[in-house]
């Protein structure tokens, strides 16, 4: 099966505006570093470090959430697992932070571990919601076709779970940014946005500009990537 063409941007103008939004945070950070007399390299390194931590945690969360969703979305397993997931997601993740620090130390692993247990739940529950929408007739069509194994995952369960995965990613990453900065501050990580806010905590102006920069970055990512992807994935499930 050839890969279907994924067109997540409606027009060239849409793409151009989106690309402008990618450039915007960089321009902001450059201007910001000049204004606050901070070395631009240091600022970009802080943002980059946090970004990489978030991306790694996000990728781990996506893989884990998808596997869990596929294993437990229906049948007897779902009856047992879903209440357990519900309890686990209600558990305050910050309560795990001292233990994580004790086990992993003041390290990237601690931050990533904490991010994973924050991000994974919205992604998992959104994928589960998507899988619950599988029509009985689709399942029958797959059963009659005899499709199984990897093909079943690739051609059936994966496409059905994509809209939930994207919705969950938007929510999860929103929570993730918050958890990321908080964890970096609490764990006193060297480098990263948490470290940046810690360093300039006595300077309200720089802190405010830093927050504005973070918001522009998150907004741009949503506009650039997630919202078009969300729209496209929902369109794909229209019958």
């Amino acid at each position: 099966m050839r890969r279907a063409h994924i067109n997540i941007y409606n027009s060239r103008k849409h793409l151009a505006v989106t690309l402008l939004l990618v450039v915007l945070p960089f321009l902001f950070l450059l201007g910001f570093s000049r204004y606050a007399h901070i070395a631009a390299g240091q600022l970009f390194s802080d943002v980059g470090m946090s970004f990489v931590r978030l991306v790694v945690a996000y990728l781990i969360s996506v893989v884990l959430a998808w596997i869990l969703a596929i294993l437990f979305y229906k049948g007897r397993r779902a009856k047992v697992a879903l209440p357990v997931f519900d309890v686990l997601q209600s558990f305050p993740a910050f309560a795990m932070l001292p233990l994580a620090t004790l086990v992993f130390g003041r390290s990237n692993t601690t931050v990533i571990f904490f991010l994973v247990i924050t991000i994974i739940w919205p992604i998992l529950f959104s994928i589960l919601s998507s899988l619950k929408l599988i029509k009985h007739e689709w399942e029958e069509a797959v059963e009659i076709s005899g499709m199984g194994g990897v093909d079943y995952l690739k051609y059936f369960l994966w496409p059905v779970s994509v809209p939930g995965l994207i919705t969950g990613s938007i929510i999860g990453l929103g929570e993730g940014w918050e958890a990321l900065v908080a964890t970096e501050i609490i764990v006193r990580m060297h480098g990263g946005l948490g470290d940046f806010f810690n360093r300039y905590s006595t300077n309200a102006e720089i802190t405010a500009l830093g927050i504005a920069g973070l918001l522009i970055l998150i907004f741009s990512m949503n506009k650039l990537f997630w919202l078009p992807l969300l729209e496209s994935s929902h369109r794909r499930m229209e019958e």
Binding site: M1, R2, A4, M147, E238
Partner: protein, 245 residues
């Protein structure tokens, strides 16, 4: 006489809030290879349930189903009332789906898909998604998908009931042409008596609560069948009399 499928003492009961609801009661029948067999009956006569039992989709039933003539489950296809197309796949990819499941090589797959697209006049829609198609086109894709795997038995669950009468008539003609050319066994359910008479070699009349075969008619009317002929009307009246509550 060779038999491709036989059903013996099929019963089906649903258990709902402590009560047993009998849906099918002691269904017995035998179907020959290449036959066009139609179940006709009103809502609640268990037609679709019986079709799912015979196709292997519903395994929770009493009695037994036997496949003859070395029929394998991979040689069975199903056409659904509401098409059951996968909305994330294009028309061509939907048709291709069963071929991937059967590990048909890439080149061969493309050839088969192209041929089915031509057969059903869908060439221009190969890269369209189901949401862009009319009901009639969607069911063309559904039938093309069912035929692509060269099945020996095709089950059809009220395949024309979601279509307007003009489209349904056209599609029935196409189906008869393809059936004559490829000679699969077709087992179909419908609630429209005229449709059953137009298509079937034999018609099993089901009555409801619980669903049971009231009578099986050998439809000897010459093909192509004339809907306005006296014999057509006579058979239609006879079946209506049986079904009438």
């Amino acid at each position: 006489m060779s038999i491709i499928l036989s059903a013996k003492h099929i019963i089906k009961t649903y258990h709902e809030s402590g009560r047993n609801l009998s849906v099918l009661a002691d269904i017995n029948l035998e179907i020959s290879p290449g036959e066009f067999f139609v179940f006709v009956g009103p809502s609640g006569s268990g037609k679709s349930t019986l079709l799912r039992i015979m196709s292997g989709l519903d395994k929770d039933f009493g009695g037994s189903i036997f496949y003859g003539e070395k029929l394998k489950p991979s040689e069975i296809s199903f056409v659904f009332q509401q098409f059951a197309l996968f909305p994330w796949l294009t028309v061509a990819q939907n048709i291709e789906f069963g071929l991937i499941a059967r590990s048909v090589p890439d080149k061969k797959r493309r050839e088969i898909v192209r041929a089915e697209l031509t057969t059903f006049g869908l060439e221009k829609f190969a890269h369209a998604y189901p949401r862009d198609l009319s009901g009639g086109m969607k069911q063309r894709v559904g039938i093309a998908r069912a035929l692509a795997t060269e099945p020996r038995v095709i089950f059809m669950d009220e395949p024309f009931s979601e279509l307007d009468s003009f489209t349904a008539t056209e599609l029935r003609k196409d189906l008869l042409r393809i059936w004559r050319e490829r000679k699969p066994t077709i087992i179909m359910v419908t609630h429209i008596i005229e449709e059953a008479i137009e298509l079937a070699d034999r018609i099993a009349v089901l009555t409801p609560r619980p669903g049971k075969i009231e009578k099986i008619f050998q439809n000897t009317l010459p093909r192509p069948r004339q809907e306005r002929s006296q014999e057509f009307y006579r058979l239609e009246d006879t079946i209506t009399e049986i079904i009438k509550p």
